[in-house]
Symmetry: C2
């Protein structure tokens, strides 16, 4: 398709214009210059969004979403649920609604209450950056990154999947349940671990001690700058799976602690397993 092709969704409303929302705006602008991007967020955020060229119009009024063929909820998880429940009041016509929340069961459950004119398909782009906010938005944030769709019980819609593919993302499908369990391990647990580790190490070492730290600590704690509000919502909407994941990690750390003399070989067993999975993780994987 040429860059001046007719956009599948001529009007896209993005509610919550941070790193993800802003990057989506920039990506749409690049892919379909004719599409109108409507940004809904606080006025100061909208000002930045307009300055960056990530939106055509914007404001803090949910009514701006009326008339959009696609509404993307791009705030933290619980805020997305809130907005979803208020959409009916502000959007009189039919629209496809999706979201970018890091957990999918809570919002999929909430979407059951939507009137039939508002069709919901949950989504989760597996893309991000250490620094959030619309200022960090990038048109290529989703390029070649997985974008999971969780149609759940609703019949699938190829329009949304095709639209995301045209934006450069690699679309994959999962149930909301499978999504939340997998993400508890590959995303939520690493985040909690990085933050817990940084808080423990910082409190003990202090600024002077940290000045001796090397790249190992820096990489292991890269996620520790993540915003608390986003993760509070993720934790609250994925309690069961995240609790199970934390329990497993605690058990392994406890085993290491109980066997530091290495008489039982725990350190070596854990390291061998870790090195093997790390090799798998770093393998090129194309699907």
């Amino acid at each position: 398709m040429a860059a001046d092709a007719e956009p599948p969704f001529p009007h896209v409303a993005i509610v919550g214009f941070g790193l993800i929302g802003g990057s989506l705006g920039l990506a749409i602008r690049e892919r379909w210059p004719k599409a109108m991007i409507i940004a809904i967020d606080r006025k100061d955020v909208i000002e930045t969004a307009m300055r960056l060229g990530a939106a055509d119009i914007g404001g803090d009024d949910l009514g701006l979403a009326a008339g959009a063929e696609l509404i993307v909820l791009a705030a933290p998880a619980l805020a997305n649920v809130d907005v979803l429940l208020r959409l009916e009041e502000f959007v009189p016509g039919p629209a496809l609604v999706t979201d970018v929340s890091s957990t999918k069961r809570a919002i999929t459950e909430a979407a059951r209450t939507l009137p039939s004119r508002l069709r919901f398909i949950g989504g989760h782009p597996l893309a991000g950056a250490a620094v959030g906010g619309v200022e960090a938005a990038r048109a290529d944030l989703f390029t070649l990154r997985p974008w999971i769709l969780t149609p759940g019980g609703t019949p699938s819609d190829t329009t949304l999947a095709g639209w995301l593919s045209a934006l450069g993302a690699k679309v994959r499908f999962m149930t909301p349940e499978a999504h939340d369990e997998l993400l508890a391990y590959i995303s939520h647990l690493p985040q909690m671990t990085a933050s817990a580790l940084m808080s423990v190490v910082g409190a003990k070492a202090g600024a002077q001690g940290l000045s001796h730290a090397g790249r190992g600590l820096r990489d292991t704690t890269r996620l520790a700058s993540s915003p608390a509000d986003v993760w509070r919502d993720i934790a609250a909407t994925n309690r069961d799976h995240l609790a199970a994941a934390l329990e497993e990690l605690i058990a392994v750390l406890q085993n290491i602690k109980d066997d530091l003399s290495a008489d039982g070989g725990t350190v070596e067993t854990v390291f061998a397993s870790a090195a093997e999975w790390k090799r798998v993780l770093e393998e090129p994987f194309d699907k």
Copy 2:
């Protein structure tokens, strides 16, 4: 100093020629072309070392260290203690002995048994790479990186510190006790955590699940490729401090798990503390 200056230690024996030993060889070669670098390791390792130009002579015989003014023990921690205890037999003349072990109490304790002609000053370069082995050696591995010396009770020697500074490292001094406690937090705990995390996540997600993982998991587990033998020794020679550090991390993870609803605000408290220490960690710090 010009590159052709007389080397402070004309003959340097390096016992254990992996990433650290090999990089030291390359750094010495670059800084003092006239210095003779004697590599002691398995024959196949020596072959690689010679091919890389990291050593002048080498072999698997500790007797090669006789005649060196400086002997650097650069094997894993417990192997360094073993070699230290056998030096007396192989080295008849006076020599300065140092090491690069990641823990400093065990080897400092062992060094008390050395005859007075063999003077020991413990050392620890805070430099490394995800991949070990002499093949990964780099002349600039120590450039601008901290190199901790732990003279402990022995009178300090400015020759070794000056030699390391001339190689580009930033020399700092600590007691073996303070070193081991600090490193338990800024190095050993992150390593154990990264490996434990990778083993838990890999076992649950499998290859298919891992294919959805993003940069967050990759960075958090970068250390998970580390060799088990090196870390078994570190764990065994720093049990008390590492156990205390693991206990603190387990307690924070347990608190998060018990408060995932965020009613008690644990997630936000931990994230706020983590983000603040992460900021400190990433601050430019020059000393």
